[in-house]
């Protein structure tokens, strides 16, 4: 991973940066012409979507760094089997992959946050909390994905399903570009289970005093930390089992 820093930065940050400019500035003009900032609790539209894009940066970064190395480690190059032939255990390997992925999220999110400062979307201050919040969101999603990646025996359809049926709907229906409550009630559950929505809501509250209730803040935090803990426990067990076959 250390050898690909520039590419990582481009991949993780380029895409959300395009969204920030195209949607945040472009569509933001239309949104604010129509209803001012009343639909977004008084926040400029570009600032409204920024925490979501930041969280998404963490999520895609962690996903790349858990899915590919895991399938590579078990299947393509079998590197995990080489590591497991030393005193290193399957549980340690799982944790190592996970922590490396979280490091990537920290790296990408920090750069993206600096860009948000430069674009004047956020002000330096309490908004710096956006970094740990986005990393937590990425870590929550990554812990669960790590478990599924470690279960895959046949990799042919996994990437398509993950990309099209998980990542894309999650990105669109997690209150990224509009408040989740503006969706019909039967679509809102996508947001409720999505780590992206919880992360985004926390980020908006931290950066802009969005008006989220204290109870909801606690619920968001509990949900995300639960995913981290459950995902890491399951992943560690799955790594150990698969290597011991």
């Amino acid at each position: 991973m250390s050898k690909w820093r520039a590419i990582i930065a481009a991949v993780d940050i380029g895409n959300p940066l395009f969204y920030l400019i195209a949607v945040g500035i472009g569509i933001g003009v239309l949104v604010e012409k129509g209803s001012g900032t009343s639909g977004t609790n008084g926040i400029k539209y570009i600032a409204f979507i920024a925490p979501a894009l930041l969280a998404n940066t963490a999520i895609t970064g962690v996903m790349d760094e858990t899915v590919f190395p895991t399938i590579e480690g078990f299947k393509w190059r079998k590197l995990f089997f080489a590591q497991n032939a030393t005193p290193i255990t399957g549980r340690q390997i799982a944790l190592g992959v996970y922590l490396a992925a979280v490091c990537r999220a920290i790296f990408s999110v920090t750069i993206y946050y600096i860009l948000l400062l430069l674009f004047n979307v956020v002000n330096l201050g309490i908004s710096i909390l956006l970094i740990p919040i986005a990393v937590l969101g990425g870590g929550a999603f990554g812990a669960i994905i790590l478990y599924f990646a470690a279960k895959i025996e046949k990799d042919d359809q996994f990437f398509n399903i993950l990309g099209r049926l998980v990542i894309m709907p999650m990105f669109l229906f997690s209150g990224t570009f509009f408040p989740l409550s503006s969706m019909p009630i039967y679509l809102q559950p996508i947001g409720w289970v999505s780590p992206l929505w919880h992360t985004t809501e926390l980020g908006r509250e931290a950066a802009f005093d969005y008006g989220t209730s204290g109870l909801m803040v606690v619920i968001h935090l509990i949900y995300l930390f639960t995913l981290v803990i459950v995902g890491v426990i399951l992943s560690r067990r799955q790594f150990e089992r698969r290597l011991a076959k």
């Binding site: 190059r77 089997f81 080489a82 032939a85 030393t86 005193p87 290193i88 255990t89």
Partner: protein, 308 residues
């Protein structure tokens, strides 16, 4: 005799409804070079993964350096060097980086590994490739690097799964030479192979495995003596006539095997037997007298050839 380094009793491994290893027993003594000989699917690799303290067993007992590998995995693995059947080097790293990182997995100090790398590069004849990415190495070089990597922690036991499968003859001979040196240095080797020449060259003692069970155990010479005759006469009459002449030939020797392409006749004196065949006015298209090998032992024990 001192206590064996490896002791296996009633080892069984079942995958679903398939029994890969079926109640095998053996010991390996310190400094010994021990082989598991058998065709693909005999259960050798499964046995090796259990000896490597990575795979779990279904039943039986295994003791490696007086410890149960299932209970003390990391502790046992700290004393083992493992060379898997398929090279699993990190292709994105260079030759010396691969050795370095692997040494760190054992918790070895920077200083120790740095000195060790020089020694291992020389052993593996890869001094000039130290800063080359592993991806661009030849198959034989990768294999030697994998073996060198297995030696980075100065293991008490080196486990080699099919060390020369897939290599060309020259690369195999270089590898055999390297392994022979390790043997001379007193490293305990456990290796699997389906090449009888490899087993004869490298193993002090071996077991012949088939379908998860051990068919015979002994030294290469001992097994040949016990299960085969001194010499073998191979004759070919062409695929149609082989069957025709078989009954007549079987009268002339102690034991005979009719293979699709040739007939193997087991005897103490191959030349004499060939004269007899000529006297009987049977003229084989080709004939060859050779020493008995482990291949013949395997054929005798299982009725099948090693490489099918």
């Amino acid at each position: 005799m001192s206590k064996p380094l490896i002791s296996v009793r009633g080892l069984t491994k079942v995958f679903g409804d398939f029994t890969a290893v079926d109640g095998i027993n053996f010991d390996v003594a310190k400094g010994e070079s021990f082989g598991l000989l058998g065709p693909n699917g005999a259960g050798k690799s499964t046995t090796m993964r259990i000896l490597a303290a990575t795979s779990t067993r279904t039943s039986g007992t295994v003791e490696i350096l007086d410890k149960d590998p299932e209970k003390f995995g990391p502790l046992v693995r700290a004393h083992l060097g493992v060379v898997p059947q398929q090279d699993n080097l990190d292709g994105e790293l260079t030759v010396s980086e691969n050795l370095y990182i692997y040494g760190r997995y054992f918790g070895l100090s920077k200083k120790f590994i740095t000195a060790k790398i020089e020694e291992l590069l020389e052993f593996a004849q890869l001094e000039e490739k130290r800063d080359v990415k592993v991806e661009s190495l030849s198959g034989g070089m990768k294999r030697r690097l994998t073996i060198a990597r297995g030696l980075v922690s100065e293991p008490d036991i080196l486990l080699l799964d099919e060390p020369t499968t897939g290599l060309d003859p020259q690369a195999r001979h270089i590898l055999w030479d390297r392994l022979f040196r390790l043997k001379e240095q007193g490293v305990t080797l456990v290796l699997t192979t389906h090449f009888m020449d490899e087993a004869e060259q490298l193993c002090d003692r071996l077991v012949v495995m088939d379908k998860g069970a051990i068919m015979a155990e002994g030294t290469p010479q001992g097994l040949i003596k016990e299960y085969s005759s001194k010499e073998v006469l191979e004759v070919r009459f062409g695929s149609d006539r082989n069957k025709e002449v078989a009954p007549q030939l079987s009268q002339m020797c102690e034991r005979m095997e009719t293979l699709p392409d040739r007939i193997l006749m087991y005897t103490e004196d191959g030349e004499k037997l060939l004269e007899q065949i000529a006297a009987a006015k049977l003229h084989p298209t080709t004939s060859l007298v050779r020493r008995s090998s482990l291949e013949d032992v395997f054929l005798r024990l299982t009725g099948r050839t090693l490489i099918e």
